[in-house]
Symmetry: C2
C-alpha cells in the first residue's frame, strides 16, 4: 500500500482571505509578532497498490480533476510506503 | 523570522465525513484503488521573531486557542528559519 501526502495551496499571487482573517484574529488576541498566515489543504490518500509510477499517475489525475482548482491553486505530494 | 508549518488533523478515532465523500467521489470517477482519504488543514504562520522557544510558546497557544478543536483534532508543527 502507498500513502500519498498531498498539499493543495493557493498560488502565491492569489489573496488568501481566510489567512488574512486568521492574521487579524491573532493580532486582536495579542499575537502582534504574526506577519502572515496562509491556509492550505493537506490530504492523505491511501492506495491499494505498491506501484509508485501507477500511483503517481493516479494522484496527478485526482489533483487535476477533483482536489485542486488549476486557476488558483497548486499542489505537490510525496508517496510513502505503508504496511 | 521564523515560519511555523502547522498540521491540524482530526483524531484517528473521529470520522472524517469530508474524506469519506472524497473517497466515494474517487470510486465513482474510476479510482477503485483508493482505500481511504483524510482531509486536514495545513497552516503556515510567519513570525517576526528568531527566538525559537518564544515562537513555540506562541504557536502552542495559537493552536490551543484558535486553530485546533481540542475535542476532535490534534496538531503538530515544525519551525523553519526564513530570511
Amino acid at each position: 500500500m502507498l500513502k500519498a501526502k498531498i498539499f493543495v495551496q493557493l498560488k502565491a499571487s492569489v489573496l488568501d482571505p481566510q489567512g488574512k482573517a486568521v492574521t487579524n484574529s491573532l493580532h486582536n488576541l495579542g499575537f502582534g509578532g504574526v506577519v502572515d498566515t496562509r491556509i492550505s489543504k493537506y490530504i492523505e490518500i491511501l492506495f491499494d497498490s505498491a506501484d509508485e509510477a501507477e500511483v503517481r499517475t493516479q494522484v496527478d489525475k485526482i489533483c487535476d480533476s477533483l482536489l485542486a482548482n488549476p486557476n488558483t491553486e497548486t499542489y505537490h505530494y510525496q508517496l510513502e510506503a505503508q504496511e
